[in-house]
């Protein structure tokens, strides 16, 4: 069997490689003013695609702003925004086919929105009501939809990475012209799952796109305390993988890279790693306060690189958008989010029988007994179990 070592040239003096030996450049297509770099090669994009991307950006901004507010008011228990990272998420999702399977980490609600998750469906999940696809079993933001090929979010970090390798392998074996895409942050790349998943994908020829949002922070831990070496991209090269680093705040750069990554993965039955250099403008989650670990100046600097604004300027330059239409869209989504929120929070929680469902394909005898005992208890003390007492 041949391997890299057998092809290596020989040297006769000690010479080490170091972290700068593998300097990986950053693909940039859009400038801050919304014009493309002169030598840049644009992705495949028309007005309809641009409009859908922009629409998803606006919805996501509104959702994040409103739901963070709703969390502060105590209406939902938890929330996470993707503010600042919209280009990374939407630019990559827009490069995919609807049959491609998305395995996300937790900050990629823009991707499921792009696929068609409705405002109502978002609200049902966050309010854990009886219409929630997840049946009220996970915290807010753990979306999932079989119809949209978006696997349900799981809280443990990085577990979706080797799973994506398996999903991609299954797509290949099913003869589908589809890939799996796996989102994660640079922090998750420290978990063993990352290394296991990438290595297996490379060795087993899985058509999977590993998409790293390198957004500067893993909760409060900055990247220089998270990893050494040339970012996450250098790991991709180490695993023998096609790798690219892009400006994660540049919608067109992300779109271009992901379009080509997808084509490569399909044509070669091979994985690709994309590292998007971006910045988490918001807090890690609604339970976090970034003022404890980073400066306002740093955040202000990154505000200048707002990916949503930069893409809007590009569309305006193309004559595909104007400020008024953009402003109207914000108004429309603010109203829609608020009215759907008010509907969803009044929908009842799932029935108590749901507690033993889906543990197995059918409840076991022990589970049935436990449910019967529980219902008798709730009947006895209805005032202590207000969510279920009316419906036992």
């Amino acid at each position: 069997m041949s391997n890299a070592t057998t092809n290596a040239e020989t040297v006769h003096r000690v010479s080490f490689l170091d972290k700068d030996s593998l300097a990986i450049p950053i693909l940039k297509i859009l400038q801050a003013d919304g014009t493309a770099y002169e030598e840049a090669v644009l992705p495949v994009i028309d007005e309809a695609l641009a409009a859908k991307i922009h629409d998803t950006c606006v919805f996501t901004r509104v959702l994040d702003e409103r739901m963070l507010g709703a969390q502060r008011q105590g209406r939902i228990s938890f929330y996470m925004t993707c503010t600042g990272e919209e280009a990374s998420i939407i630019g990559s999702t827009a490069a995919l086919d609807d049959g491609d399977v998305i395995l996300a980490q937790y900050r990629e609600h823009a991707a499921i929105r792009y696929r068609g998750f409705t405002t109502e469906q978002f609200m049902n999940q966050m309010f854990s009501n009886e219409k929630d696809f997840g049946k009220g079993r996970q915290m807010p933001i753990h979306y999932g939809s079989e119809a949209l090929n978006y696997q349900t979010i799981s809280s443990p970090l990085a577990t979706q990475i080797p799973q994506a390798t398996g999903v991609a392998y299954s797509l290949k074996m099913q003869g589908k012209r589809n890939v799996a895409i796996c989102y994660f942050g640079e922090g998750a790349a420290s978990e063993g799952d990352f290394h296991a998943g990438l290595n297996m994908a490379a060795v087993l020829n899985s058509p999977v796109i590993f998409f790293c949002r390198n957004n500067g922070y893993a909760i409060s831990t900055p990247t220089d305390e998270q990893f050494k070496g040339n970012g996450i991209a250098s790991r991709g090269v180490g695993y023998g993988m096609h790798t690219i680093r892009v400006d994660g705040n540049d919608m067109l750069a992300v779109l271009a890279a992901t379009q080509q990554a997808r084509a490569y993965a399909l044509d070669n039955n091979a994985p690709v790693l994309i590292e998007a250099m971006t910045y988490r403008l918001g807090a890690h989650s609604s339970s976090d306060d970034p003022s404890g670990y980073r400066s306002k100046d740093e955040e202000a600097k990154w505000q200048q690189h707002d990916p949503v604004k930069r893409f809007k300027l590009w569309m305006i330059n193309k004559g595909w958008m104007n400020e008024q239409r953009d402003a109207d869209l914000y108004v429309k989504y603010r109203e829609e989010v608020l009215s759907e929120l008010k509907v969803a929070e009044k929908i009842p929680t799932p029935h108590i029988d749901n507690i033993i469902e889906d543990v197995y394909d059918t409840p076991t005898p022990i589970l049935k007994k436990q449910l019967a005992d529980l219902k008798n208890h709730v009947k006895k003390y209805p005032e202590s179990y207000p969510k279920s007492a009316g419906r036992v």
Partner: protein
């Protein structure tokens, strides 16, 4: 019916299921051309190709995660963990992911088509990293089924049932029986329902309960007891999760006594769970405390394997003590 050992029975089960189910894949460390360190997957790669039976890199975490991904997208995944001792790097993927896929997604996604096969248990001079019985860790996890066969015929029937089951299953194979246990195995389709214990010997004085390789120990102990005039009923639990409370309780109501034997350490072992439940179900029928004959609360020792083991003699002593209580 053909005579075969447990490895041949397992191999036949895998082969016939791969034949019937084109979406089934078998993978793990060295399982490809080599056929696995115990040769359970011998010949499968030659028969079904490198894309359906293959080696993975040495990463149990990766194997389990990959298996979850395959199964979540509609495939039948049969993953081998080379030794049960090495299942621990995969525990997050199994406990947090395989077990909860269906529940946490509200059945939008599931990994029902997933089976982990892994050789477990001692008696092969393997020391503590090639002898552990970690079944209790997984019985504490809702969403998993845990299955242990006792001989080649059971191995074939229970493995086929595990592969076809719509839930993730951990199938522990008693490795000391791989070649030692030889018996008649039905040809063709042979399925044994999961979740059902089997009364393998009727008796009147005490119920002996175990699983896997310990069944042979219980049978030997029962023979020793019979010479002293004690009649033992013997039950093979076969599926530990979900376990068959009714069959065990019915037997204990008849005999009035229960002894549980397992190779894993006593503390936190699955015998404790059974004892608590049977005490609840059969309190007024019990004529002596429920006995547990288990491994010591030590790592599995190399040189003192014989002393560590809950063997037939220790079981025989416990039977006598229970009957004389």
């Amino acid at each position: 019916m053909a005579q075969m050992n447990m490895l041949q029975a397992i191999n036949q089960a895998l082969s016939s299921e791969m034949e019937a189910d084109k979406k089934m894949m078998v993978f793990g460390e060295d399982v490809g051309h080599f056929g696995g360190v115990f040769r359970a997957t011998s010949g499968l790669q030659e028969k079904f190709g490198r894309e359906r039976c293959f080696n993975t890199p040495l990463t149990e975490q990766g194997i389990a995660g990959f298996a979850n991904g395959l199964a979540s997208n509609g495939m039948t995944a049969v993953a081998e963990i080379q030794f049960a001792d090495y299942i621990f790097p995969a525990i997050d993927q199994i406990v947090n992911e395989s077990a909860k896929f269906r529940y946490r997604s509200g059945n939008e996604f599931n990994v029902g088509g997933l089976t982990f096969r892994t050789p477990y248990g001692g008696g092969i001079a393997g020391g503590h990293y090639h002898s552990q019985s970690p079944e209790a860790y997984f019985t504490q996890t809702p969403g998993l089924k845990v299955v242990v066969p006792r001989n080649p015929e059971q191995a074939k029937g229970l493995l086929i049932a595990s592969i076809r089951d719509k839930n993730p299953v951990i199938f522990f194979e008693p490795k000391r029986l791989y070649r030692a246990s030889v018996g008649e195995v039905p040809e063709g389709d042979h399925v044994i329902e999961l979740g059902k214990a089997e009364v393998i010997k009727q008796g009147t004085d005490i119920t002996l309960l175990g699983w896997g390789a310990q069944m042979e120990i219980l049978e030997n102990a029962a023979e020793m007891a019979a010479k002293k005039g004690i009649s033992c009923e013997i039950i093979d639990l076969r599926t530990l999760s979900p376990w068959d409370v009714d069959t065990v309780a019915a037997s204990v109501k008849k005999t009035g006594r229960l002894l549980i034997n397992h190779e894993a350490p006593l503390t936190g072992g699955f015998a404790g769970e059974i004892a608590a439940t049977i005490q609840e179900e059969c309190f007024l029928y019990l004529e002596s405390p429920i006995a547990r004959v288990c491994g010591l609360d030590t790592p599995y020792p190399l040189i003192h394997e014989k002393e560590y083991m809950p063997d037939a003699l220790k079981t025989f002593e416990a039977i006598k003590a229970s009957v004389k209580f």
